[in-house]
Symmetry: C2
């Protein structure tokens, strides 16, 4: 069910703080409601009474007649709170609070937000805002924003934490002629949040692709769940501000929202099946292609052009998008020769040269649509001869409308480029100013196919997990914030992670006795409070081959009153790292990568939200160079890939099951040859 | 001296193939020459005679009166060749051939090109083209193109292998109001090539930044030399089509030009001091910033905005460009509070909120220009209230014109965005549609500063090079295409590369004798024709510690009639690879990276043109992760960095001096601890 149904289908709307002055935002809201096609009742509210835009003004909200489902409150912060209360009393179930001056200011504002939240809870209302521009729906024609023009009707549903970005994007869209189904400006999301907005867009039949501009996501897992449900039906494009140090600072100072770590957000997008982009032009470029184009069923693109330069740049750009130039068949080339101007190069790019006329584009497009070796089409046109951008746009739009293959069009040019874009968009063909952006549009289609191809099944149940055993370990270490090596190993072992046998001893004699029992060689580590990175501080002795060596190492390393951790030493193998931490927004986050010094110089790591399915863990390993090494490179034998996948899943499950753990590292996990397993020889656990 | 001086300062221009029909290209050329302000003589040539555009038409080129310095030939290919000959006879020293149908077609066309070249050589002419649109100069007002409008006068000098890209870019520039000094469409560069064009732009006082669109560079080193001279005076932005497999194919099919390998071109840009970008929007974004802005003297940027969303996106984008938000001082923040609207967040981003008026932008810009902690300014405006893009553009342009700090402006919006861009560009403030592109503009300034900071001194002379010795080795191996291990080692040693002592032997007895002499342990390798990657084929025995082991290894590995290479085995160290190959366009190209299996999974390599200066080699190593490992990571000791730098330089020198070598690999070069040297234990040399 659409959680925002009342916002998009209100039988009546009260506009509280309505002004008769055309330069006021509230006048804009009234104007939009009245003139953009909304057919319900509109009730301006202002103590002054009178009429605005031929509408009767009510002096207070309790005087507004039925039906009234939605209140748009355009008043200063404190007054907005009081008015929301009055709306609750009046029985209005949905409200938009436009004012800024809340949580984004810090302490004082946060208290105001708490008051809003309190009103919402007491009356069971839904609230969008504060610090937002509200919502609009191009089908029901509700428009509570003060944007100067209603967007064109279209397939893009846009949810945004920034009202300004909604406004600027709608301006741009109106200029180049593409449309929206709904726009939802969420502001500080005191009540209605991004998860609600995505659920609403998932339910909306007019939304073909959802696009989200995201600042903070305090309810990270709710976002992931809502996004995952949405992407089961339609694509989701997301941009997250505050992914870099500077961006985080910008977000923090603006909305007071908690900007999540970039890695956690990427893992969340992976889980959600969302296509993440980096900047505003990519949002639009991807959104257009996904809203207009059919599926891209392969990687092979035909590039139709009237100039070699843009074609060459476009071909490079296709390559960077994981696409390539289709190898055209002899039949296709013969068919092209029949319809293209003399001199046309019928290889790919299909370069019809400077004199190509509109009908050449039309005919050649027909040939390429029919060519089975072509999965997608990129038209790149540069004004050269007598035909200008709008005329080519008209013809390409007419020819390619309804094609079964995704067709995108780059027209590079000048003053009349907006008109060209409008003509293409009217036929559902995405326009791009440059070849690289057109290639990006096709690339978004490719990435979406890839996302759809990932199976997102529920994680399978893990066998060999002893939760009681894990609890017992944690009970036994009360007071430790960082678990000692032996307890860490025991905790890992309880979750079925392979750890070499070990014990903690207090004397050299016990160390020798334990070593005899475990079998040689052994490792001996100093156990002392506060010593974590043992190897950095000389507290480790490796490859102790006999009792004398153990005795000697104990005497050398362990100080009076300390203890020693003795562990059977495992044979060498490929060293990888498996770790996890608890992200404040998205919860447990598992990491995998190459171990040792390489992890630092290459940052060769992948992240996933826990828990993980087997295929999820497998894909995670394959994202890294470590994954390639595990499979065997240049004559080196493959390593035990399955053992790594299993270890990753067990670490994820442990993090999911045991909220006391804030961080865990298996560093290294030593991976043996295929079938020989993987050993967690150093388990570091930090409790939260 | 400007090699294209005649093209830009002709006393008279003959337009051969002039047509009186306004839809012909030649009419366009005449029209442009006549109406764009050129003040020399214009002579249309056409056998039909008469008048065109009030100009007397001459029936043949030999009838054209003096002064005539330049011929623009707009005729079919074969006729163009004949006409060029006639121009040569007439004494015309410069010509533009517009026609396509030459080298870009392949075999038949290449012969036509050879004929053009022959005419040029016989008469000592300079020729631009064929397959081009000629040149224009906004200062001398010469315009031999048929572009529909003369560009605005500006600081960007544009040289391009694609005429269509010139045309499209000029269209765009005219729309958003930025200008060019010169446009040079080179086409197939039968005579005048990219190096000439860059030399010309270097000499042109009106060109503040040179921009080059590049397809093929048959004279790679000439390009590097010309670019290097240019960048000593002004910035150079380059885009190279055909850097990826698809792009290469597109270039090859279009111009017949040889598209160089991406790595070699990157190395060439490094040597030339050119700023390389990936797509057309980046060309313009970077070109605008470099043409308009003063130097960026640091990394700290103030972001002035009226909305948090675009600011957050902009901050992320700054970060990706190696820039960051400046930390504003208390003084600056106090000054901002005085001039900004109430509620303004005076941290950075400086967010003046939705109600910010033009005067707030003006005043705040003044404060930021005066703030010593700010190195550059990014204004990000989204239409929200009563003020639209053109008005903000006017005010920002007026305020920031002449600032000592680079100031760029993002205005996001709709229909009136072109007008806003024109107003900003009229004041030399670059406009960008989105925050990310504005950040890219500032990033280009940062990269340019970095490029300027690199010392590009001539390589120092290497001591310890025995050229005679190297020649002797090569004489001794005549017939070998791949040098045997011993000869490879000897060749390397002649150039002062440290190789462990070795010998080639025919019997097990000799192997033992040599090993005794070299000292143990030794390595023994099978020497047999065609065996290159020895370790892949089991032909290597390592760590032979005594005579018995040597004897045994010889018997096991070396077959009847073969020989063995015996070498002293060096202690383990960090394994890196130093190699070189001969690029068909740019000549010797040196590579450095991490050795072993890691080079393949990480592709952690850097490239440079040879020969290299010491600082060049040092910078090359520091580009790689291997460089970080050499410096010592997390407690690991540093390795002999200087020895690696020396080895890289010696390999570069060897490649430069000895043209017979087509490839060389030191794989691995084993690098010992600091001061312990680096050993080339396997030298593979391929002769060309």
């Amino acid at each position: 069910m659409d959680p925002l149904s009342t916002f998009f289908h209100p039988r009546g709307v009260a506009v509280i703080g309505a002004s008769s002055q055309p330069n006021k935002l509230s006048y804009g809201v009234l104007h939009n409601l009245k003139t953009h096609g909304y057919d319900g009742s509109i009730y301006p509210v202002n103590p002054k009474g009178g009429e605005i835009l031929d509408l009767q003004v009510y002096s207070s909200v309790d005087g507004v007649p039925d039906p009234v489902d939605l209140a748009v409150i355009i008043l200063p912060p404190e007054l907005s709170i009081k008015t929301l209360e009055a709306c609750g009393e009046r029985g209005i179930k949905a409200a938009v609070v436009v004012a800024s001056g809340f949580g984004e200011l810090g302490s004082g504002g946060e208290e105001r937000e708490a008051k809003l939240k309190d009103v919402v809870d007491r009356y069971g209302m839904r609230l969008i805002g504060p610090n937002c521009i509200g919502v609009l729906d191009t089908a029901t024609r509700v428009d509570t924003t003060f944007l100067t023009a209603m967007p064109i009707q279209g397939g893009i549903g846009f949810a945004s934490h920034s009202g300004a970005i909604c406004g600027g994007t709608v301006d741009w869209a109106n200029t180049v002629g593409f449309g929206f189904s709904r726009v939802i400006s969420l502001g500080n999301q005191v009540d209605v949040n991004m998860a609600d907005a995505l659920t609403s867009l998932a339910e909306d039949p007019h939304t073909k692709v959802a696009v989200a501009y995201i600042e903070g996501l305090p309810q990270g897992r709710a976002f992931v769940d809502a996004a995952q449900k949405l992407t089961a039906q339609k694509p989701l494009v997301v941009i997250k501000a505050g992914r870099t140090p500077s961006g985080t600072r910008a977000v923090a100072s603006h909305t007071g929202a908690l900007a999540g770590a970039s890695r956690a957000f990427e893992a969340a997008c992976w889980r959600a099946g969302a296509l993440q982009v980096d900047n505003l032009e990519e949002v639009i470029d991807a959104g257009l292609a996904l809203a207009y184009c059919p599926s891209l069923t392969g990687t092979d693109v035909a590039l139709l052009t009237n100039a070699g330069g843009p074609a060459a740049v476009g071909a490079d750009a296709l390559d960077r998008q994981g696409l390539r130039l289709a190898s055209l068949s002899d039949e296709t080339r013969a068919a092209l020769r029949e319809v293209c101007p003399p001199g046309t190069m019928t290889g790919n790019p299909v370069d019809m040269l400077g004199g190509a006329a509109p009908e050449h584009f039309r005919e050649a497009l027909g040939v390429l649509e029919a060519a089975p070796e072509v999965h997608g089409i990129l038209v790149a046109f540069v004004p050269q001869a007598l035909t200008g951008p709008p005329e080519i746009a008209r013809v390409v739009g007419e020819a390619a409308e309804g094609f079964e293959k995704p067709t995108v069009c780059c027209i590079y040019g000048g003053e009349d480029i907006h008109e060209a874009a409008r003509r293409l968009h009217a036929r559902a063909i995405p326009h791009y100013l440059t070849p690289a952006r057109a290639a990006f549009g096709l690339g978004a289609l490719r990435r979406y196919q890839e996302i759809r191809g990932v199976s997102r099944e529920e994680p399978e149940v893990l066998t060999g997990v002893d939760s009681d055993g894990a609890e017992a370990v944690l009970r036994g270490v009360s007071g430790q914030q960082i678990l000692d090596a032996h307890s860490g190993a025991e905790l890992a072992a309880a979750y079925g992670l392979p750890v070499p046998p070990s014990a903690v001893v207090a004397t050299a004699g016990d160390a020798v006795a334990v070593a005899n029992e475990l079998g040689y060689p052994v490792v001996l580590k100093r156990v002392a409070p506060g010593v974590v990175h043992k190897s950095d501080e000389g507290g480790v002795a490796l490859r102790l081959g006999d009792r004398a060596a153990v005795q000697d190492a104990f005497d050398r390393i362990v100080e009076e009153g300390e203890r020693a951790f003795v562990q059977r030493m495992m044979p060498a193998g490929l060293e990888v790292i498996v770790g996890a931490q608890r992200d404040p927004q998205f919860g447990p986050l598992v990491m995998f990568g190459l171990g040792g010094v390489y992890v630092e110089v290459f940052e060769d790591v992948a992240f996933r939200l826990a828990p993980l399915s087997e295929s999820d863990a497998r894909a995670m390993v394959l994202e890294t160079a470590a994954g390639k090494l595990l499979q065997g490179v240049r004559g080196k034998p493959p390593r035990d890939f399955d053992a790594v996948v299993d270890a990753i899943r067990r670490v994820g499950q442990l993090m999911s099951d045991v909220p006391e753990i804030s961080e865990i590292d298996l560093n290294p996990l030593i991976v043996g040859k295929e079938g020989a397993g993987a050993w967690a020889v150093d388990v570091r656990v930090i409790l939260g």
